[in-house]
């Protein structure tokens, strides 16, 4: 009968799938007004533990979920480089961690008739895991958060799940600001901020006078980023603006000491072939970089030099070696000496991933 419940449609489970819990009021000062209807969802691990279940029910769910994950084998991996059983089993543990009021409790040590507090209804847990496996809904949307660097960022449909590769940009900025007061205490931009990951990562390593303006064209991203900024209590350091690339920054042209961006860079016709978690669930606006994936990168390249102070730093994430080389070449040939020390930086897996440099000769 559990399975029967689980088969119900998503819309029947408002507590976890809709925006039932209101979040702290969205910052008054830091946002160009977001559409009032957009209230970010509260990630599972922050929801109140108002539900309960017996250990035996929980174990029953766990067993069912494990079996479902086991049935996947390496099917998804062969299909589209999706998750395999091992990874899904790990995700299952994380889901349980987020759902339990007391995640440290070793379930095996508790009597099966005992009751534990949960942050979601038992039935929702069935639905959520089915969504994970059968619809390939990304795990991070299922639990409403992603662990990124030392942060736990809220994410939901409509916002790109931040990638581990992107973490390196914060390290790069960290290395620079440590040694340079002007960079540490200056104004930074994060263009296309999504969940706010880069803006928050950077704001936390700047000095007391340093600050960040983050922009995004997506109202959902703006709402979620603002929520994350609030959660880390950075509303005085980060301003989030709705709009396209440099457009919301007209009045601060030439004042930035640093500019970072992870713009959409996947070539349009590749998107269909991506793993289902990405292709079917993540926002196209966050991924699609035009026919060769370079539309937004080139646009950013053009604007960067007029936004940055002389000596200001920039870092762009790209699709890999080809785009890196193209961009470096382009900057050297077409941008008329507006950049210097242009460099390609590899990510942790050894893929050429970032183009960095400074403005001005």
């Amino acid at each position: 009968m559990r399975l029967g419940l689980a088969r119900r449609s998503l819309s029947m489970f408002p507590p976890i799938l809709t925006r039932a819990y209101s979040v702290q009021p969205i910052s008054r000062t830091s946002i160009s007004p977001p559409p009032a209807s957009l209230k970010p969802q509260t990630p599972l691990f922050l929801r109140p533990p108002t539900h309960s279940a017996t250990i035996s029910d929980l174990l029953k769910w766990q067993k069912w979920a494990k079996t479902l994950a086991s049935s996947v084998g390496s099917h998804f991996t062969h299909l589209d480089d999706g998750p395999d059983t091992t990874l899904l089993h790990r995700e299952l543990n994380w889901l349980l961690q987020d759902a339990l009021e007391n995640p440290k409790l070793p379930l095996s040590h508790v009597g099966t008739n005992e009751v534990v507090k949960l942050r979601a209804e038992m039935e929702d847990l069935y639905v959520l895991w089915k969504q994970r496996i059968e619809e390939r809904r990304p795990f991070q949307y299922v639990v409403g958060c992603e662990h990124w660097r030392d942060l736990v960022l809220s994410v939901e449909e409509g916002v790109l799940i931040p990638r581990p590769e992107t973490e390196l940009i914060v390290d790069l900025v960290g290395g620079l600001v440590k040694e340079n007061e002007e960079l540490r205490e200056g104004l930074w931009a994060d263009l296309g901020t999504g969940s706010g990951a880069l803006a928050i990562g950077i704001a936390r390593i700047l000095g007391p006078f340093g600050s960040v303006i983050a922009t995004d064209l997506s109202p959902v991203a703006v709402a979620v980023a603002s929520y994350n900024v609030q959660r880390y209590n950075l509303q005085d350091k980060i301003e989030i603006k709705l709009g396209s690339w440099f457009e919301p920054l007209k009045n601060v042209k030439g004042q930035f000491v640093g500019l970072v961006s992870n713009p959409p860079y996947i070539p349009s016709n590749h998107i269909r072939g991506l793993q289902a978690e990405v292709a079917k669930h993540e926002p196209r606006l966050a991924l699609d970089g035009g026919s060769n994936g370079m539309d937004d990168l080139l646009h950013l390249c053009h604007g960067a030099s007029s936004m940055l102070k002389r000596g200001g730093f920039f870092a762009f994430e790209t699709n890999g070696e080809k785009q890196c080389k193209f961009l470096v070449d382009y900057m050297q040939k077409e941008c008329d000496g507006s950049f210097c020390d242009v460099d390609i930086v590899s990510d942790f897996a050894g893929n050429k991933r970032f183009v960095t440099g400074f403005s001005g000769p």
Binding site: G175, N262, D347
Partner: protein, 280 residues
């Protein structure tokens, strides 16, 4: 990059070269490592050979030197690793004799995280393909291999690669403490500060200026633990002799050793190799 960074890199480089020349100088003892506390450790780290390098082309994991992660392009560790020869560290070579060296072991432990990382090679498991926006996979397992000794620390239990890296580094520190021995001059022995800090207050040589006792959860514990194991090896496993040097009763020192699982295991394994009874 800044001059201070360059300087620290060249210092590091010369440091590594010295160690390399002095290969037999640092010795990694082979205590039993135990999957108990490295519960996720996939291979058996029994005896380690200095400067081991494993084959790179296993296809499922990519490695880079950890320091380039922090944005440094050339690192001492990568220079070091390109010029060292290959030897196999995974087949137990059965050499269980405790060997000791001057310097080395302690030096690794007093290094900052950043510096220790720069001597490590980092493995990420199953990271391949285009990455970035293309994929959604939480494969955040990290293994750090400390190139000068071949000792590794690994973590995969967390969702965040960042946290796994920190846990892997903490585990690496513990393993370095457990496995790399320093020489002890018994005749003129006086316990180093870090060892005094982990002793209980009743030690008669501790002195009141040492502060409160540091326990196993404190990151500084491993340094004191290393010095303690050095001493126990130097006195050939005799807890009574070691206790005398530390101004403690034999019982009090046993209790200290038993308070930490990994410490207890190393000491007991060593005692057993000497035909002594394990502490209980």
């Amino acid at each position: 990059m800044s001059s201070s960074l360059c300087m620290s890199q060249s210092l590091l480089r010369s440091f590594l070269i010295i160690i390399r020349r002095n290969c037999s100088g640092i010795v990694v003892s082979s205590s039993n490592p135990s999957s108990n506390y490295y519960y996720d450790h996939p291979f058996h780290p029994r005896s380690f050979v200095i400067y081991q390098r494993r084959n790179q082309g296993d296809g499922i994991c990519r490695r880079i030197t950890a320091a380039s992660f922090s944005g440094y392009n050339t690192t001492a560790a990568s220079i070091n690793c390109n010029s060292t020869s290959t030897s196999n560290g995974n087949s137990g070579d059965g050499d269980d004799g405790p060997r000791t060296s001057g310097g080395g072991g302690r030096e690794f432990l007093i290094m900052s995280d950043e510096k220790l990382l720069s001597q490590c090679e980092m493995d990420f498991f199953r990271v391949r393909g285009p990455g970035g926006q293309h994929r959604n996979k939480r494969e955040s397992a990290v293994r750090l291999k400390h190139l000068p000794t071949g000792i590794s620390g690994q973590a995969s239990e967390d969702r965040s690669q960042h946290k796994n890296r920190a846990s892997a580094l903490a585990r690496l520190r513990t393993k370095l403490a457990l496995k790399v021995r320093n020489t002890v001059n018994l005749d003129a022995y006086s316990p180093p500060q870090e060892l005094l800090q982990i002793l209980p207050k009743k030690s008669t040589i501790r002195g009141s200026d040492i502060g409160s006792q540091i326990g196993p959860n404190n990151p500084k514990f491993s340094l004191g633990m290393q010095a303690l194991i050095d001493l126990i090896f130097a006195v050939e496993g005799s807890i009574a002799d070691a206790a005398k040097k530390l101004g403690l009763s034999t019982g009090a020192l046993s209790r200290l050793i038993l308070s930490d699982d990994s410490l207890r295991m190393v000491v007991n394994e060593y005692r057993e190799s000497k035909g002594m009874k394990p502490l209980k």
